[in-house]
């Protein structure tokens, strides 16, 4: 997943940090290529536009270079870089919202993830059971252009917290433990944010697959 640079393994980190300090351009380029994707996603959780996120990532890499001599290896290199990105993103202060409080959940993270209307209520034959099963989706759904758009749109609608967790878990393939460490959140909150984010994306897909025929008529 990290491509040419297998920078996730601690034993290799010493060598990596050494190469950076020594000014090895290949190492730096490989790291930039391997890590910028998740750094961008992370930055996007804090700033309003892709362009600003890109600037944040650039600034972060510069901060990495300036600080690499002081890197002591107490956290993994990746965690250290992660914190730099978060700090840079916050410093941009582009949104006056300052930082996103990851430690606690807010209202948008709580409550049912599926519309309660879809389940039978107390007076009905099967309280809590589906009124109607979810519609079947086409078999072997592949990520074509349209579906990619649906998924991307859904991601954009998530709260920043949810989006970062979904991105780190499902797009970048980090483990739950890693995400908890990176974001400094509890396992329970990580799961809540992930579940809600996924449920929203599923709902968008459901809507798309059930979509009105006009959608196709219009697009032609």
């Amino acid at each position: 997943m990290t491509g040419a640079v297998d920078a996730d393994r601690r034993p290799d980190e010493q060598a990596l940090v050494g190469a950076l300090r020594a000014g090895d351009e290949q190492t730096f380029a490989a790291l930039v290529d391997a890590w910028s994707a998740w750094m961008l996603r992370l930055a996007r959780g804090h700033v309003p536009s892709p362009a600003v996120a890109e600037e944040v990532v650039q600034e972060s890499w510069l901060a990495v270079l300036q600080g690499v001599d002081k890197f002591r290896g107490e956290a993994s290199l990746r965690t250290w870089v992660y914190r730099i990105v978060v700090n840079q993103a916050k410093r941009r202060g582009v949104r006056e919202r300052r930082s996103i409080p990851f430690a606690s959940l807010s209202e948008e993270d709580l409550g049912p993830t599926v519309d309660p209307e879809r389940f039978q209520s107390a007076g009905e034959p099967h309280p809590g059971g589906w009124r109607q099963f979810p519609e079947e989706w086409p078999e072997n759904v592949a990520l074509g252009r349209e579906i990619r758009e649906v998924v991307t749109t859904a991601l954009a609608e998530l709260s920043p917290r949810q989006r970062v967790v979904v991105a780190l878990r499902d797009l970048d393939g980090h483990s739950a433990d890693e995400v908890c460490e990176l974001l400094d959140i509890s396992a329970g909150n990580q799961r809540v944010l992930l579940h809600r984010g996924r449920a929203v994306v599923r709902a968008h897909l459901e809507q798309y697959f059930a979509g009105p025929v006009t959608r196709y008529e219009v697009s032609s």
Binding site: G23, L65, F119, T152, L171, R198
Partner: protein
């Protein structure tokens, strides 16, 4: 376990963090309820699709300017004769 409860436990189930008893109830419910079985399958599809999103990366001008900055940084570190 009701369907309404089932749908909230899907991620915990997939993460393997459900306590044994709840996991058993979840499995049992899934076996008996086509709607929830389908919901779980769609959840999995969603996760797969998310994983297939193309990598965003830095634009080439941004990458370029970083590499230039790196070269400059290396020069100012001193002692490097390149």
């Amino acid at each position: 376990m009701t369907c309404e409860e089932f749908v909230e436990l899907v991620t915990a189930y997939l993460e393997g963090t459900l306590p044994d008893e709840q996991r058993l109830a979840f499995d049992e419910h899934m076996a008996l309820c086509p709607g929830c079985d389908r919901y779980l399958a769609q959840f999995r599809t969603t996760i797969d699709l998310l994983g297939e999103l193309p990598e965003e990366s830095l634009s080439s001008p941004a990458r370029e300017s970083l590499l230039n900055a790196f070269a400059q940084w290396r020069r100012t570190m001193g002692g490097d004769s390149s």
